[in-house]
Symmetry: C2
Subunit: 427 residues, 2 copies
């Protein structure tokens, strides 16, 4: 097929029609059927190490020719260990409780009708992601478990790996008698095929973009399908005047350095001026020794310079930058209220924390900081599905509608009302 002959709208429409059909079929299949396909898939992944490696080698080869290196190149790679982890991940999803069918509420209004609010799959979920090929398996497994049909649109760097992995999923669906269109990989990474996908709101019920700012913005700007964003984390740690300096140091180091490239790592350290005067130099030195570059406001900068701690001057953009790196902006405030205002203005409403021994201050911070997850005396790094005990997660929503924070299986569901009557009519 040459580029000229591909009708992306027709191709996407076909994917959508097939997905909708599969979703309707899945809706009445029991838990056991959905678990059977996952178990088959896990075995199939482990039994296909060599072939997965071959497909992946093609992507790695292209990446090398294209000059890709470092973290991006590493993300593409499916090592033996990662293949095992994919299979294990699928088994873990199979072992999770079925979110579908649970009665969420029962309403019995005076009219006599009996209303059950029941959790059901969303329907058709599209996931748009970038380089890492294991996302193909993770998302397929989570969508299948939650009874959703999925349309997966991976990045071009991982095209061969994704195609092979999606083929394994199709084989498992066929082998276990589920509709093969329950999981479909978009068979092209041409950007022109993205637009019709984003606008097919009569077939797709939700789009989850997972990737960089550019990808997410493209999806938000163009989609008519409802979007659940997994956007950036500009997370803040506030050290109150009543913070224990040891706890403050441990949490600051953990939240910044334990894994700086993830969305729940902190980007701003907000420090009460009293705490700063007594403890910031030592804390800043510890961060510096852990490899962190500090960018401070005027007051903190002057203080750190006086104490001989290496520090740069922060500018206004620093307060809202997601570094995803060993860089930390430092801001001084003169009250907890000022800290809350700063965090609500410059943070991304993802994960923010306070360290304080003062319960009144802490309670106010928990209530007033307008973020998905707000911590008192703990590291922001806990924001994820596993750490919350939700099991596997499809991501961390930075939206407020439907799902906020870590999204597990239940967040891939909606509900319906099933109503039993005895001939009731409206008066």
């Amino acid at each position: 097929m040459t580029v000229e002959t591909v009708d992306f709208t027709a191709l996407t429409r076909e994917l959508g029609d097939r997905a909708r059909g599969a979703a309707l079929a899945l809706a009445t299949r029991p838990t056991a059927d959905r678990n059977r396909v996952l178990s088959d898939l896990a075995d199939r992944i482990e039994g296909s190490r060599a072939a997965i490696g071959e497909a992946n080698a093609k992507d790695l080869e292209s990446a090398r020719s294209a000059g890709l290196s470092g973290a991006l190149f590493d993300r593409l790679r499916l090592t033996d260990e990662r293949i095992t982890a994919m299979a294990e991940g699928v088994r873990q999803v199979a072992a999770l409780p079925d979110p579908v069918g649970e009665e969420l509420e029962r309403l019995q209004p005076p009219s006599g009708i009996d209303i059950r609010k029941v959790r059901v799959p969303l329907g058709v979920v599209a996931i748009i992601y970038e380089s890492r090929p294991n996302v193909t398996i993770d998302c397929a497994a989570l969508c299948l478990k939650s009874g959703n049909a999925s349309i997966l649109r991976g990045g071009k760097e991982a095209f061969h790996s994704n195609t092979f992995l999606a083929g394994l999923v199709t084989a498992s669906l066929e082998a276990t008698g589920l509709p093969p269109a329950a999981v479909q990989l978009v068979p092209t990474t041409d950007r022109a095929a993205l637009q019709p996908l984003l606008r097919m709101d009569d077939r797709i019920h939700c789009i989850i973009p997972r990737g960089g700012k550019g990808l997410i913005r493209t999806v938000v700007e163009n989609a008519t399908v409802p979007v659940l964003k997994h956007d950036e984390g500009v997370c803040n740690l506030y050290l109150d005047s009543a913070a224990d300096p040891e706890m403050a140091t441990a949490i600051a180091l953990n939240a910044k350095t334990q894994r700086p490239g993830v969305c729940n790592a902190i980007e701003n350290l907000v420090v009460h001026e009293d705490f700063a005067a007594d403890h910031l130099p030592a804390l800043a030195r510890a961060l510096h020794e852990a490899g962190v570059v500090l960018r401070a406001d005027e007051a903190a900068h002057a203080l750190l310079v006086t104490h001989g701690v290496p520090v740069e001057v922060a500018d206004h953009d620093d307060w809202s930058t997601e570094y995803l790196d060993l860089v930390l902006a430092v801001r001084t405030v003169s009250s907890p209220e000022e800290a809350v205002r700063f965090i609500n203005e410059y943070g991304s409403q993802h994960s923010d924390a306070i360290v304080t021994a003062d319960e009144t201050t802490a309670r106010h911070f928990l209530a007033a900081v307008d973020s998905a997850t707000v911590y008192w005396n703990a590291s922001t790094r806990f924001t994820d599905g596993f750490a919350f005990g939700l099991g596997a997660e499809i991501g961390i929503s930075t939206d407020r509608l439907h799902a906020r924070g870590p999204m597990g299986l239940r967040e891939l569901c909606t509900y319906k009302y099933e109503i039993l009557g005895h001939g009731e009519v409206r008066a």
Copy 2:
């Protein structure tokens, strides 16, 4: 101000900034404060009958000059009775339980952190609506009760009425010490002011369009802010071969004729061929006598003609048309499965019903029909917040993310995780 000098982007930005500030302030105000403003508002509405009437008279005058008549003209009118109903509605909302602050879940993972999932307001909600001015008060009250700041964008026909009513809300906010920007009416109905509102996703957390198909499509096509659609209802009633003919007739008449202009009235009557042969002529005659125009498929048409019941021929468009009028499309099927397929294909996934005495068929229908509300032996007309016992509703969502079906106060909320630690860091 002439049209040339209005900078709609700047005007909208200012509304957004003020709303965001008000939302953050509201988030920490107790229930009593929010109820106090509602109680003040109800009194103020009842004490302003003459002035409301004067403002409304200006809109009615313009409408008359513009040649508006019938239902559209009637919707604009604020009679004394409707003014009383508005005030009563506000008092009812005040009396509802506060949705904010409820602990929805508690998670205590092995790490030792203590996670509370708590219901909180969405933040800033924009509501875009058409002619009826009472929507201004209804939406203001529901948003205030649920702790949200709202931006209300009414239709141009009701501009004077809306402006006066919004002024009452502002006065109540000021009188009770809440931020006046908690409820703002967009001070123009210029269409050019809509676009910046729809795209202000850094300030507005949710848009609810309430109105005709055209309005909803404009919002969906242009918004980057998440949208909760209140779209059309192409509702279906399926009469199974095991349906009791008396119950079938009562439900069909109620669902079609009790109030044909609303979204939960039926537009399609799907009839099993066996039921049709025995009972459709009598049922169709009853519908005809109630003023309903029938548009039937070939089989039903032939049957009804034979029995001398007036009937038109349906074409393909009829199956997906929301008449909102005394018109009903009639479709024959040869099995419950065919009925389910028809409903999932042509309905709008709003409200659908089966009449049958066969429990197995009913259970399958409830599970397989992919709609927000599915009824067994009851009229689709029950789909609304009051009939469900949820109290006042802001509308009926035809979306699946966040809220599906009747939306009450709880559906105007999201949640956050408040996490208590003792210095825990991520290993």
